[in-house]
């Protein structure tokens, strides 16, 4: 856990607000994520963590507030444009493509890099040679295999995504997100449903992703994981930020202990 306060700001959230009817899922939230950090976002169920991800990736649109990614305002209406800009995510409830193979799934993530326009994709598809494959396909396949190797899924590359074990499906989601070549990766409860051994492994995986130069925002309930690997932790409760600091500060913050974990709990 390096204290990299000298780093630039990767993601700056200013006054982010989202209402569902009269209910504030997020209310005037300000967060700054430093480049190269693993930044955890914690809070009880319903605190607004997943909404936070949905707003950053454009799955939902904010009612107020600004999202700045690497100093530039992110206001694209469509999630795919934000992905192209370098923001990728995984889903809390796994959303893989059930009929694609593991390798094909990862190659979907690379599609937007190899084929920036639909016309190029269509042209390359129609004009391809009947046998053999295009240069783009070869590059995509090689990159995808490298990512599968990186996450330890290379042996299952031809399996259907939906046939993988639960923990492997989570890893495949990460591989698919990494294939979009993000500079910011949002992980939504990567340890959910994993056994302690798999969670241990996840520690290392997330750290290695960070070491590839990807800034990570992590929503997670597994406190050991969060406290072990995070450089900084932000705590949400009922849509508002109640604390922000390094893991040690958060563990000793009385407001956090009271609001999130109940009183008299030793973190």
């Amino acid at each position: 856990m390096l204290e990299q306060t000298a780093n630039g700001v990767c993601l700056a959230i200013e006054g982010l607000t989202k209402r569902f009817g009269g209910f504030y899922a997020l209310n005037d939230v300000n967060v700054e994520v430093a480049s190269g950090h693993i930044h955890a976002l914690i809070g009880p169920n319903g605190a607004g963590k997943t909404t936070f991800f949905n707003l950053i990736t454009g799955v939902l649109s904010a009612d107020a507030g600004r999202i700045l990614f690497e100093g530039r305002l992110v206001d694209d209406a469509r999630p795919s444009n934000r992905t192209v800009k370098g923001i990728a995510r995984t889903f809390q409830n796994i959303r893989l493509f059930p009929h694609l193979t593991v390798l094909e799934t990862v190659m979907i993530g690379e599609h937007c890099r190899s084929y920036p326009s639909v016309w190029k994709a269509l042209g390359k598809a129609v004009l391809q040679r009947p046998f053999g494959e295009a240069q783009e396909e070869r590059t995509m396949r090689a990159n995808a295999l490298e990512l599968l190797e990186f996450l330890g899924l290379a042996g299952q590359r031809d399996a259907k995504a939906s046939d993988l074990a639960y923990g492997d499906q989570r890893k495949l989601e990460m591989a698919r997100a990494l294939a979009t070549k993000p500079r910011l990766l949002l992980l939504d409860e990567p340890a959910a449903g994993m056994n302690p051994h798999e969670t241990q492994e996840l520690d290392e995986v997330i750290t290695r992703i960070r070491d590839r130069g990807v800034t990570i925002v992590l929503v997670e309930h597994d406190m050991r994981l969060v406290m072990d690997i995070s450089d900084r932790v932000t705590v949400l409760n009922f849509g508002t930020k109640i604390a922000d600091g390094n893991p040690k500060e958060i563990q000793n913050n009385p407001t956090v202990i009271e609001a999130y974990l109940g009183e008299d709990v030793q973190l």
């Binding site: 999630p79 009929h99 979907i108 937007c112 890099r113 269509l122 783009e136």
Partner: protein
Amino acid sequence: MLDGYTQSILIFTGINIIAAYSFYAPFKTGQVSLGQAGFMAVGAYASAILTQKFGLPFPVALAIGGVVAGIVGVVVGFPALRIKGVYLLLLTLGFSEIVQVIVLSWEYVGGAQGFRYISFNPHTLTYTAIIIVALILFFARIERSSLGRAMDSIHQDEVAAEVMGVDVVRIKLLAFGIGAMIAGLAGGLYAHHATFMDSTTFNIMLAVEILTFVVVGGGSTYWGPALGATVLTLLPEFLRTLREWLELLPVAWTNFFPVNRVYDFLHAFLDFENAKRLIVYGIILIVMMIVRPDGLLTRDSLRRLPFTRWKPGHA
């Protein structure tokens, strides 16, 4: 070289195959359209107007008819982007109805009397064959491409595909437009073969038939639409010849088990050679949904064939 009857059967099979591919294109991105008959009407009327009123040669008129249908497809595709499932069915159905009403009330194209004396194209069979080959090559290439994979991902989880950077809006519009264009070509071919059409020619029943072709043949591979359209178009013909074959059975057998009378009963009841063949389609649809919901041909069944080994996903 082919007698008129065989030629006519082949032409209708061919046009149905093309129509089935027009459904398959948007279906590959998860869009289920009941508007393909409407797009056929657009292509049919556009090309017939061009040959009859402007004296353009058939191939040019056919191509322009396809393009016009494609453009209309993109226009209809825009509102279709935001809706799915039953609502998309209703929207495309509504589009078909609008086309029918316009055709019915437009005196320029014959109004209620129908569009008559469209110039007959003697080479429809050749055109149909060329277009089918082109379509199969086209969809085979899409299947083996990154674009095809992206389309599959949209079909399977649109939100996830969008978040992974797939340009869902443009790809869906493209697929819808291509589908409409193919339908327009099918319509143009039909118009210049039948030489007559009116507002009921391209009705909702035709749209349902087109959907049935793909559901029966299988919508997950590009061979499925061709298979489904062929099987269902030839089925009435096959049943007709089956009756003749039954005559050849020894009398002793038919006395023991009167298959020919069972046939005659079914024939009188279902009338599967004519308008009521839709009853048979309905039964086939129900049976298919229970027995083989993914259609006759699926990706897995294709993988088992040795000559498809070179398909993507196996470096």
